[in-house]
């Protein structure tokens, strides 16, 4: 009964004219940035954050969440029509989506990705609604060692899932943690690494760093070689999938929903990993795996459903434990904190209107996205035709404005540019930005939990408590095994090269 009255409270909040308008604005902007390659939800949420300062917290969170899951819908359009992922979680959709478009089936590909996204998104919101309160109740029993271990697991997962050597991911995570130490030490109150700068006393801002690492760095990377986007279909027809398309896609959609939701709950999994998993599972269990990659509808339905299910699933740990499971969630955590709300086990009890209002708005937003996406595909195609040499100055202008508007401090813009150049160089040297940013966000919480745990007087406290011991062992396993694997693989490569040389 409590559950239904809470849900009614949520809908009461989400269905006010103001919240409906901002939800619509959020999903519209989300879809737009999902369509445009080179600007993702992380940079957009960072950019919009300052414009939400004057809003009520619930309205602001409803809009920013709308941007996040809206981007998942939009990303598929670019993947299918241009063969360039609009955002990272749509990479797999390119494989079969673009092939479907080449076979003259762009319409059904776009249609099934919209319907799949809707079903996956809706099912995972139900999961979020049921699981978050349970997890929050469980988390009330957590102490600093458990929270430390959980954050460590999140960082280990992000590092483990990085492309390239784990060592590089580890270095980026360590660098992020080191940068998070800049500013005031929350326990002793003294300042560290500030070079007597007033701006740095408050620590390194997450938003300017995120905009630099993901917005400016992306622009600089794209500037290296401006490629003319080749749009395959300028008129898309037959968006509604046929009965056969539905019969082929329904189980991939169901499986994609479950994979997307449950995998994204794992700290660090984000929205990209579930899409790869959903695609791999479909290919493995398919009766005709050889058709994958040639334009099969299951190859579009599964990953597109999974990324939307993952968007809601990754909010479980944020809302119930206060821990971001991905970079996007880290920025959303920043939004909560800016509005004076600390997500975590007490969020549901302290701010029921915000929690249930946000969840109800996600149902509404999903319906809006379905209605919005199908008729507006023509508009998205037109937007895709904007040349990049006009698009990138706009992205830079918005980033400039967003960083400045945070504190009306020009040094925030400078920080953004510095981290933009840093992010660009790190990409060139094959280091990923995700562990860096997640470590920067988790750093202060991680240090507090670490130092509070040690105050108990036992340096082995992390291994004496069962939950933290298990989580730390899993983290160590994730970090150590690839190191040995890399070494043994590399050693084999050297031996092979030497043998060939001989």
């Amino acid at each position: 009964m409590d559950f239904f009255s809470n849900l009614a409270l949520g809908f009461g909040i989400a269905l006010t004219i103001k919240n409906l308008s901002f939800c619509f604005l959020g999903v519209l902007i989300g879809t737009l940035i999902g369509v445009l390659p080179g600007i993702g939800p992380v940079a957009t949420i960072s950019l919009l954050l300052p414009t939400t300062f004057g809003m009520e917290p619930v309205t602001s969170i409803i809009m920013l969440c709308g941007v996040y899951y809206g981007a998942m819908y939009g990303g598929s359009t670019t993947s299918i029509l241009v063969n360039i992922p609009g955002e990272a979680a749509s990479v797999v959709t390119c494989l079969d989506g673009y092939q479907m478009a080449r076979n003259g089936r762009a319409g059904p590909a776009l249609g099934i990705s919209a319907f799949g996204s809707f079903i996956g998104g809706t099912l995972s919101i139900i999961g979020l609604m049921l699981l978050s309160p349970l997890l929050a109740r469980m988390a009330l029993k957590f102490g600093p060692p458990e929270f430390f271990a959980l954050m460590l697991l999140g960082l280990a997962m992000v590092t483990y899932l990085c492309r390239g050597p784990v060592l590089k991911g580890l270095i980026m995570a360590l660098a992020g943690l080191a940068i998070s130490c800049v500013g005031q030490d929350q326990i002793s109150g003294s300042t560290r690494f500030t070079l007597d700068s007033i701006t740095l006393m408050d620590g390194m801002g997450i938003v300017p760093v995120a905009m630099g690492l993901f917005g400016i760095a992306e622009v600089l990377t794209n500037l290296e070689q401006i490629v003319k986007q080749d749009i395959l279909a300028t008129r898309v027809t037959g968006i509604f999938p046929t009965l056969k398309d539905w019969a082929d896609s329904i189980w991939p959609i169901v499986r994609g929903s479950f994979i997307g939701f449950f995998v994204s709950i794992l700290p660090g999994a984000g929205t990209v990993i579930p899409t790869f998993m959903a695609y791999t599972v479909e290919k493995r269990i398919s009766k005709h795996p050889e058709k994958f990659g040639t334009g099969t509808i299951e190859g579009v339905a599964a990953p597109e459903t999974a990324n939307n299910a993952a968007a809601a699933g990754s909010m479980v740990t944020l809302l119930s434990l206060g821990l971001p499971s991905s970079v996007g969630m880290a920025i959303l955590l920043g939004a909560f904190i800016i509005h004076g709300i600390q997500p975590g086990p007490l969020l549901i009890a302290k701010h029921p209107a915000l929690f249930w209002g946000t969840i109800a708005s996600m149902y509404v937003g999903n319906v809006m996205l379905l209605v919005l996406n199908l008729p507006l595909i023509g508009l998205w195609i037109k937007i895709l035709k904007i040349p990049y040499n006009l698009l990138f100055p706009l992205i830079i202008l918005f980033c400039f404005l967003g960083a400045y508007s945070l504190n009306n401090n020009i040094y925030d813009v400078l920080v953004m540019i510095i981290f933009g150049v840093f992010g660009y160089l790190m990409r060139k040297y094959e280091y990923e930005g995700a562990p860096f940013l997640l470590a920067l966000v988790l750093g202060p919480m991680l240090e507090n939990a670490f130092r509070q745990s040690l105050i108990y007087g036992d340096p082995f406290i992390f291994f004496n408590r069962p939950i933290s011991a298990v989580l730390i062992c899993v983290s160590l396993f994730l970090l150590i095994t690839p190191l040995f694997k890399t070494f043994s693989q590399k050693r084999k490569t050297i031996e092979k090269v030497l043998e060939e040389g001989d």
Binding site: P50, T51, P165, L167, K168, L170, I171, L174, A175, L177, A178, C181, D185, S188, S190, R192, F193, L220, L223, E224, Q225, I226, P387, Y388, N389, L390, F392, P393, L394, I396, L397, F400, L401, Y404, S405, N408, I410, V413, L414, I417, G420, V421, Y424, K428, Y429, E430, Y431, E447, F450, R451, L454, I455, G457, P459, K490, T493, I494, V497
Partner: protein, 151 residues
């Protein structure tokens, strides 16, 4: 590839050394009561260890790996100029004002990217500056510095 790996691991080695030395200047405390410098010191030491491993790997494996083609000078020039323009705009933003800075940014950046005429770029710059004014100043009431134009 080898040169890149060596350069990046040397960079991180230097960062690790600076972090370790700098952290040691803060109170370290002990295991029961860690001080301000405790965690950064640990991070610095780990950075030194991991970057050294990467450096050794780069020296051992480098010869076997293929070198990537270096980036063309004009691309470096394009990127370098873009970054310099951005930094110049940061330092001039409050003095010159948002309207002129955004106009200049929207005029210069497309020209740097190429494949656009000055006329089109000019029109784009006027529209962008006007758009920023309408959306951010007029509608969203963002307080942006007006510089000498505002006086």
């Amino acid at each position: 590839m080898r040169q890149r790996e060596i350069t990046s691991s040397l960079f991180w080695l230097i960062v690790g050394l600076i972090l370790t030395i700098w952290s040691a200047t803060y109170p370290l405390g002990n295991l029961a009561q860690p001080g301000t410098g405790f965690l950064p010191l640990g991070l610095g030491i780990l950075l030194i260890v991991f970057s050294t491993v990467l450096l050794i790997r780069a020296f051992r494996l480098g010869a076997a790996e293929k070198e990537k083609a270096p980036m063309l000078p004009e691309r470096w020039l394009r990127l370098g100029t873009t970054v310099l323009v951005l930094i110049a705009c940061v330092f001039l933003f409050e003095k010159v004002g948002y309207l002129l800075i955004f106009f200049v940014l929207a005029l210069v950046l497309p020209l740097l990217a190429g494949q656009i005429t000055l006329r089109r770029s000019f029109i784009f710059a006027v529209l962008s500056a006007a758009g920023v004014y309408i959306i951010f100043v007029w509608l969203l009431q963002q307080p942006l510095p007006t510089g000498f134009l505002g006086r």
